[in-house]
C-alpha cells in the first residue's frame, strides 16, 4: 500500500477499510479520499454499507481491517467523541436528536467543545464562567437564526416537524465546528420543494462554514445536483468513483441501479 502522505494532502483518507459483523462483510476493502471544502456524494443501493462507512469514520464501529486518516493523523479505533473533537461531525439516518431537550439546548450542548470551564467553575460561577455561558448562548442564538429555528427554540426537539428535525440535526452538528460534515440521507422524507431548499442549504453551509461535506443520499436529483465527486458502493465494495457525469455513464453503476432512474 502506498502511504497517505503521497496523496495531495487529503482531508480524509480511507485506506482499504473492511468491517465484518459475524459472517457478514458489510464493507469490504474500501479506499477513498476527500479534500478540503469538497462536496462529495456516497451512493449505493439499500444495504450497500453507506451508513456503516459513516459509522466507521465517526468511530461508532472500529474497522476490522484498514485505516482511516483525518488531516493526516490516524483516527482508526478512536472513540466517537474523540473523532468529533478532531473535527468530524455527523447526522443520523434515523434522526437522533436529544428529543426531550429544547431546540435551543440541543444546539447549545454541542458548543461544549469550545469552552474552557470545568466542574469547579460550574459550581463557583465566577465572571469568566458567566461570560462564557453568555457567549455560547449568543452563538447558539445566531446559529438558530441563520437556519430559521429561532421561532421554535424553546420547544422540545421531539415536537418539531420532521423536516425541521433534520435541519436541527445539521445545525447541532455545525455547532461542534467541524471541518468535515457527514450527512446521512438528509432528504429522506422530504417533499420536492423541501428537497430543493435542502440543496440550497447544503451549498450554503459549505460556503458559509468552509467545510467539506460527505453526503449519503438516495435521491439522485439531489446527489447529482450538488456533489462534485461521487463514490458508489454495492454490497460493501466500491464499484465506481467520479464526477456526476462520469457516474451516470459508468456501466457498473448502471448495472447496479438496473431498472432504476439514475439520470437527471
Amino acid at each position: 500500500m502506498n502511504s497517505t502522505r503521497a496523496k495531495p494532502c487529503p482531508l480524509l483518507h480511507l485506506d482499504n477499510v473492511t468491517i465484518r459483523f459475524g459472517g457478514l462483510t458489510a464493507v469490504s476493502s474500501v479506499s477513498a479520499s476527500l479534500g478540503d471544502n469538497e462536496l462529495t456524494g456516497l451512493i449505493g443501493p439499500n444495504g450497500a454499507g453507506k451508513t456503516t462507512v459513516f459509522n466507521m469514520i465517526t468511530g461508532v464501529y472500529a474497522p476490522t481491517e484498514g485505516a482511516i486518516h483525518f488531516q493526516n493523523k490516524s483516527v482508526t479505533g478512536l472513540k466517537p467523541f474523540a473523532i468529533t473533537e478532531r473535527g468530524i461531525a455527523r447526522t443520523f439516518q434515523n434522526i437522533r436528536l436529544f428529543s426531550s431537550l429544547s431546540v435551543f439546548d440541543n444546539v447549545r450542548v454541542a458548543f461544549h467543545l469550545h469552552v474552557t470551564q470545568n466542574t469547579a467553575h460550574s459550581l463557583t460561577r465566577g465572571p469568566k464562567f458567566r461570560a462564557e455561558e453568555r457567549d455560547i448562548t449568543d452563538q447558539t442564538r445566531a446559529l438558530l437564526d441563520i437556519f430559521q429555528l429561532t421561532r421554535v427554540q424553546d420547544e422540545p426537539a421531539k415536537s418539531l416537524p420532521y423536516g425541521d428535525q433534520r435541519r436541527l440535526e445539521i445545525v447541532r452538528a455545525l455547532a461542534t465546528r467541524p471541518k468535515l460534515l457527514l450527512l446521512d440521507e438528509p432528504a429522506a422524507g422530504m417533499n420536492p420543494a423541501e428537497k430543493v431548499e435542502l440543496m440550497k442549504l447544503i451549498r450554503f453551509i459549505r460556503e458559509k462554514f468552509q467545510l467539506s461535506i460527505l453526503l449519503v443520499e438516495h435521491d439522485m436529483k439531489v446527489v447529482m445536483g450538488i456533489c462534485e465527486r461521487i463514490h458508489v458502493l454495492e454490497y460493501g465494495r466500491k464499484i465506481a468513483e467520479g464526477t456526476p457525469a462520469e457516474i451516470r455513464q459508468h456501466p457498473a453503476v448502471v448495472a447496479a441501479y438496473l431498472g432504476k432512474e439514475i439520470t437527471h
Binding site: 466517537p80 429544547s102 455547532a175
Partner: protein, 313 residues
C-alpha cells in the same frame, strides 16, 4: 455582585443558622423528623443527579451513605478520635471537616465503583450498583475495628439543624449549578441519547463518572450527618431497602426535577414516620406506590412543566 443562585444559597444558610440557634425550643421528636428530612433531601437530590439528570440508574446509593457514615464515625468515635481530640479544636468547628472527609471517602469509593460499572447500561448498571452496595455492606460487616455487624455505637450528636440544612442547601445549590452549566447540559444529553451525545463530542464516560462521584460525595455527607444524628450505625441499616427508599423519593418527585424531589422527600419522610408503628405496612405502601406511579404517572407526581427551560447565571 454574586449571581442570584449564590444569594439564595447565602440566605438559606443564614436562615438555617437562625433556626438552628433556637432549635432547642423545638420538640425533640419533631426535630428528629425534621433533621431526617434534611438528610433525605441530600440523599435524594444527589441520587437525582445520577438517576435523573444523567439517566444512569443506580441502586447502590445507601452504600455510599454507609461509607460516609463510617468514615465520619471513625474520626469522631473510632480510631480517628485520637487526632480529633489531639487537635484541641471544638467539635462544633471540626464537624464540617469530618463531614467533608466522609463525603470525600464516599467519592473515592464512588470513583472505584463507577469507573468500571458505568460502562454498563440500564438494568445491568442497576444490578451492578446494587451488587456493589451489598459488597460494601458485607465488607463493613467484616471490619472488626469498625464494630463488624454490631455496628458503631456512642457516636456524639453533632448534627445540628444548621449543619443538616446547611448541607442540604449546599447540595441543592451544587446540583442546580452543575445542571445549569455546559457540563450539566452534557448530563442531560447523555441521559437523552448516548450515541448522539458521543457524536457531539461528549466523552459520555467522563460525564457519567462526574455525576456519579458527585452524587456519592453528597451521599457520604448525608451518611456523616446520619451517624451523628442517630448516635449509632450498623451495616444492616444501609442495605438495599435504604437504597430503594431513596430511589422511590426520586421517582415520586420526578427524575431530573429539583423541586419535585424535595417535595417528595418531605412527603415520604413524614408519611413513613406516620406509618412507623405499622411496621411492614410501611413498605407495602411504598412498594404499591411505586408500582402505581410507574403505571399511571412515570414522570413523577410533582412534575407540571413539560420540559426544562434554558437558564443562565
Amino acid at each position: 455582585m454574586l449571581p442570584r443562585s449564590q444569594i439564595v444559597l447565602l440566605i438559606s444558610l443564614i436562615t438555617a443558622g437562625i433556626i438552628s440557634a433556637s432549635s432547642s425550643r423545638i420538640d425533640d421528636y419533631i426535630l428528629d423528623v425534621i433533621l431526617g428530612i434534611g438528610i433525605n433531601i441530600i440523599l435524594a437530590v444527589s441520587l437525582n443527579l445520577i438517576n435523573g439528570f444523567t439517566g444512569q440508574f443506580s441502586l447502590g446509593h445507601a452504600g455510599f451513605m454507609a461509607v460516609g457514615a463510617y468514615a465520619a464515625g471513625t474520626l469522631t468515635t473510632g480510631p480517628g478520635k485520637v487526632w480529633f481530640d489531639a487537635s484541641g479544636a471544638s467539635p462544633a468547628l471540626l464537624f464540617p471537616f469530618v463531614l467533608f472527609a466522609g463525603g470525600l471517602t464516599a467519592a473515592v469509593v464512588g470513583l472505584a465503583v463507577g469507573a468500571p460499572s458505568l460502562r454498563l447500561k440500564g438494568d445491568y448498571l442497576a444490578i451492578v450498583t446494587l451488587g456493589f452496595g451489598e459488597i460494601i455492606k458485607v465488607i463493613l460487616q467484616n471490619i472488626e475495628w469498625l464494630g463488624g455487624s454490631r455496628g458503631m455505637v456512642g457516636i456524639p450528636s453533632y448534627t445540628s439543624f444548621f449543619w443538616c440544612f446547611g448541607a442540604a442547601a449546599v447540595t441543592i445549590y451544587a446540583a442546580w449549578a452543575l445542571v445549569n452549566s455546559t457540563l450539566g447540559r452534557g448530563f442531560l444529553a447523555v441521559a437523552d441519547d448516548e450515541i448522539a451525545a458521543e457524536a457531539m463530542g461528549l466523552n459520555t464516560t467522563r460525564y457519567k463518572i462526574i455525576a456519579f462521584v458527585t452524587g456519592a460525595f453528597f451521599a457520604g455527607i448525608a451518611g456523616g450527618l446520619y451517624a451523628h444524628l442517630k448516635g449509632y450505625i450498623s451495616p444492616a441499616g444501609f442495605d438495599f431497602n435504604k437504597s430503594i427508599e431513596i430511589v422511590v423519593m426520586v421517582i415520586l418527585g420526578g427524575m431530573g426535577r429539583h423541586v419535585g424531589v424535595v417535595i417528595a422527600v418531605v412527603l415520604l419522610t413524614v408519611l413513613s414516620e406516620k406509618l412507623r408503628d405499622f411496621g411492614d405496612k410501611r413498605m407495602i405502601v411504598y412498594s404499591a406506590l411505586l408500582i402505581l406511579l410507574m403505571l399511571t404517572r412515570p414522570q413523577g407526581l410533582f412534575t407540571w412543566k413539560p420540559a426544562r427551560k434554558a437558564i443562565t447565571g
